[in-house]
Symmetry: C2
Subunit: 459 residues, 2 copies
C-alpha cells in the first residue's frame, strides 16, 4: 500500500521530521535479524509521548494504515516487518525511566528503555530487573513478545514481571491495565493479554515492572559433560530436586566451539552447563554443593567457577553473544532459529531428537537452551540463496515444533510467533485460535495493528 497524501500531511504536521518516507529510514526499519524478509514500510514515525502515539493511531485508523511497533529490531521471527506495508512506529525516543519506587520494588518506564539502561539506572538502589533475553532489547519489545531468557528459571518471564501497562489501542484510545498492587482480582487480566500480543492489539506506551533485590551473593560456574543426554538429564534432575537455580543454561559442543572462537573462551569440545546461584552466602554455598553432587552423578567434569564479578560478566557475555558467535561459525550465513519449550520430563528426549534430526539433514545447527524452563534453541545456519538448505532447516524446525506440541509443549518459549511461527499456531492451539481471532477483531476491527502476524489464516 501507499500512504495517501492526506495522511502523510497529517503525520508530517503532527511530527515534523519525526515522520519520514526516506528510503534510508524505511530500509533501516524493514530489516530483520534472520532469514525473514519483507519490503520496507511506507514510512517511519518516532513519537515522543503517549499523546503522539494516540494521535498517530487516530490518523492511521481514519486512513486504515497498518502500524507496526519497533524497538531495537532484535526480533527473531519477523514480528516488525511491514508485510502489508504501512507505518513502522519506532518507540526508541520514548526512553525515559519515569519512576523507581524502591519501597514497592517497582519501576515505571517508557517502552524504549532497554533492559541494560534500566539496570544501569537501578544500580544504586540495590534492585535489578531480571528478565534477560541476551540482546539489549527494549522493554516494550520484550513485553510485546513475552520475552524471557537466562534468568527466567528463577525470576520468571515478562508475564511475571510486568504489573501494569499503558496501551494505545487501534483507534487511539489510551487505556491503563493492571495496578501497582502485588495482585488483583478486579476483572480480566488485560496486562497478561497485551504481554505477548506482539503489537497486534495495541502499542505499549508505559510499563510498570516488578523489581528484585540484588542477591547478596552470586556464584557462577561452567562444567562439561561427556554427552548431550547426560548434560540435559542433569538439568532435569536439578529442577526436580528443587534447587533454586538462578540460571542453568545448556550449550552443545558446536556452540562451545563457537564461543571459543568468537569470545575467546576455553571450553572443551563437549556439551556444557552454565549455572548461577543467587542468595545469602550460606544458601549459595548449599545450593552449589547440591548441584555439584548432582552434576557428578551425571559425569559433570572440569567445574570452572567464576568467582569475581569480572569473570561472571565474561561468562554471561559469552552466553549472550551466542547468536552472533554461532552465526560466525559460518561466515555469510543467516539463521533459522528454533525455540521450542517442553515439559521437563521430555527435555532430554526433545534435545536428543533435535540433534539427531539436524545431523540427518546435514545441517550446521549449534544448540543452546534455557533448559531450566525446558526451553532450547537450535540456530540452523543457512546460506542466503540456498533454497534447498533453507527448506531443510525449515523441515527440522517444523519437526521440532511438532514434537514439542506432541508432548504438551510449545512452538515458542520466548521468541514469539511473528510470521515465522504463524503456520504452526493452529497445530498448537486448535479451536483456541478462534478465540484469539475474536479478541483481535474485537480490539482492532480494522486490522491495522501489525496485521498478518501471530494469528494464522487471517489477513
Amino acid at each position: 500500500m501507499q500512504i495517501d497524501i492526506q495522511a502523510a500531511e497529517s503525520l508530517s504536521q503532527l511530527l515534523g521530521a519525526r515522520f519520514s518516507q526516506s528510503q534510508a529510514d524505511r530500509e533501516l526499519h524493514g530489516a530483520s535479524e534472520t532469514f525473514h524478509r519483507a519490503p520496507p514500510p511506507d514510512a517511519v514515525v518516532w513519537p515522543v509521548s503517549t499523546e503522539e502515539v494516540s494521535a498517530i493511531m487516530r490518523i492511521c485508523h481514519e486512513h486504515r494504515i497498518p502500524v507496526i511497533g519497533w524497538g531495537t529490531g532484535t526480533s527473531l521471527e519477523g514480528h516488525a516487518l511491514a508485510t502489508q506495508g504501512g507505518i513502522v512506529m519506532d518507540l526508541m525516543k520514548m526512553d525515559r525511566v519515569l519512576e523507581v519506587r524502591a519501597g514497592d520494588l517497582q519501576a515505571s518506564v517508557q517502552p524504549g528503555v532497554t533492559r541494560e539502561a534500566l539496570n544501569t539506572e537501578l544500580r544504586a538502589t540495590g534492585l535489578f530487573f531480571p528478565v534477560d533475553p541476551g540482546a539489549n532489547a527494549s522493554l516494550g519489545g520484550m513485553a510485546a513478545t513475552r520475552a524471557s531468557g537466562t534468568a527466567a528459571v528463577r525470576y520468571g518471564t515478562m508475564r511475571d514481571n510486568v504489573l501494569a501497562l499503558e496501551v494505545v489501542l487501534a483507534d487511539g484510545t489510551v487505556i491503563r491495565t493492571g495496578t501497582r498492587a502485588a495482585k488483583s482480582s478486579a476483572g480480566y487480566d488485560l496486562t497478561a493479554l497485551f504481554v505477548g500480543s506482539e503489537g497486534t492489539l495495541g502499542i505499549i506506551t508505559e510499563l510498570t515492572l516488578r523489581l528484585h533485590g540484588q542477591p547478596e551473593e552470586v556464584a557462577s560456574a561452567v562444567c562439561a559433560f561427556a554427552t548431550l543426554e547426560e548434560a540435559v538429564e542433569c538439568v532435569t534432575a536439578t529442577i526436580q530436586s528443587g534447587i533454586p537455580m538462578a540460571r542453568i543454561e545448556f550449550v552443545d559442543g558446536d556452540a562451545a566451539q563457537a564461543f571459543n572462537q568468537f569470545s575467546g573462551g576455553h571450553l572443551r569440545d563437549q556439551p556444557h552447563l552454565m549455572v548461577e546461584f543467587h542468595g545469602s552466602p550460606a544458601s549459595v554455598q548449599d545450593d552449589a554443593r547440591k548441584f555439584g553432587e548432582l552434576a557428578a552423578d551425571f559425569g559433570g567434569q572440569g567445574f570452572d567457577w567464576a568467582t569475581t564479578p569480572e569473570d561472571r560478566a565474561a561468562l554471561w557475555k559469552m552466553r549472550h553473544g551466542a547468536y552472533r558467535a554461532c552465526l560466525a561459525l559460518r561466515p555469510g550465513a543467516t539463521a533459522v532459529v528454533t525455540d521450542v519449550c517442553v515439559p521437563m520430563s521430555y527435555l532430554a528426549e526433545a534435545v536428543a531428537a533435535a540433534a539427531a534430526d539436524i545431523k540427518a539433514e546435514g545441517l550446521i545447527g549449534p544448540m543452546v537452551g534455557h533448559v531450566g524452563d525446558g526451553n532450547f534453541h537450535s540456530q540452523l545456519l543457512v546460506m542466503p540463496g540456498d533454497e534447498a538448505e533453507l527448506a531443510a532447516a525449515k523441515r527440522v524446525a517444523t519437526r521440532m515444533a511438532e514434537r514439542a506440541i506432541a508432548v504438551g509443549g510449545t512452538i515458542t518459549g520466548e521468541h514469539g510467533v511473528g510470521i515465522g511461527k504463524r503456520p504452526l499456531m493452529r497445530a498448537q492451539h486448535g479451536e483456541a485460535i478462534g478465540a484469539m481471532a475474536a479478541i483481535k477483531a474485537a480490539l482492532d476491527p480494522l486490522n491495522i495493528m501489525n496485521p498478518g502476524k501471530l494469528i494464522p489464516d487471517a489477513n
Copy 2:
C-alpha cells in the same frame, strides 16, 4: 426468566436427574455467604464431563439461557447468584484428579476438585499445591476468581499457578489454553484471560496446575504488637528486606479476640502477625532470625513458635476460620467483606485509615490481611434488615476501595468482582472497561455466560 419447555426437555433428556427445577435444589444454588441476595436460578444442572458441559452450553446458547458456574458456593461477592435467572451449573461432580506428573511438577484436575482434596492426593509425592484462600474451595472456582490467600506472598496466586485450561465457550466450543511447558510465547495468553474471568467468558472444565516441592523445613510463629501501625510497618520492612516469607498475616485485636472465642486461641487483645518460613533447616533458621530482629525493632512481643505439625495446623486452622470466627462475634450478623490491595509503601497508611473509618462509622469490623501482598480485609458485621448499618458498611467499603485506587492499588486483591465490586470497576479501570466489554462481547455475543457480573454498566 423462565426456561422454556423445549430447553427443559433437551436438558432433561441429556442429564436425567442431573437437571433439576426443584425448589430445594434451586434455593441451595441461590444462596450466598454474604449480604448479597438474588432470587434462585430457574434450574440446576450437574454435568459429569466436558462433553456434557458442551452439550448444555449448546442448548442454553440456542435458547439464550444464562449459565452460571458453581463450585463450593464460598464466593464473597455474589459471583454465582443468578441475578438474571437461568441455570446454575454445579461442577462439583467433575471432581477427579486426572493426572499427577510429579517429574514436571504438574497436576491436571477437573474443576470440582477442592484444594484440600488435591493436597490429600499429592501427599505421597512430596509435592503440594500452595494456593490457599482459607475456604476449601473448588479449584475451578479459585481459578475463576483468581484466588490467592495466605501463601501467595511466596508461591503466587492462581494467576501464577494455572498453566493451562480446558474451557467450554458460550456456544459449546471446547478450547484448550496454555501448555504443559513452563513458559510459552505462542500467542495471546488465554489462560490468564480466563483465570479471573468469573465465568463470564466460559466454563472451566479442566485445569493444569503448577505444583511445588513440600518444604524440607517449616516453622510458624505468632507475635503481638502494641499498635496496628507497628505490626503493619514490620510487614513492610520485612518484605522490603527480601526475607522470603512463606506466609505473613495480619490480625487486628478484634480478630484476635474472635479467634480466641471461636477456636480456643490464647492471643492477646492486640494486633498480631502470624508468620511461616519454608526452606532448608539452615535457611528457615536464618529467615526466622532475621524476621525476629525486624519484629523486635517494631516492638514485637511474645513470640509463640508452633514447632510441631499439630501446633502449626492449629495456628492456620484458626486463621482459616477467621471468616466464621468474626461472624460469631455478633450472632445473627452477616458480613460486608472488603478486599483492597495496595502497594507495600502505602500499606500502613491504608490499614490505619480503614481502622479509623470503621471506628468513625461505629461499626464492628475486625481486620485480617495477607499483608505480605499488601492485601487486607475488614469484615464489616451488619444485622440483616438494618439498612442504615448496611449503608454505613458499604460507605466504609467504598472509601477503602477509593483510597486503594488513589494509591495505585486495587478494589479486590483476591475475592473478585461479582456483583459486589462491580460499581467500583470503572473508577479503577477507566477506559480499559471498554476493552473488557469488547472481549466479553466477542467471546459471548449473546451474553449468556454469568451475565450482569464483573463488567459494569452492561446487562
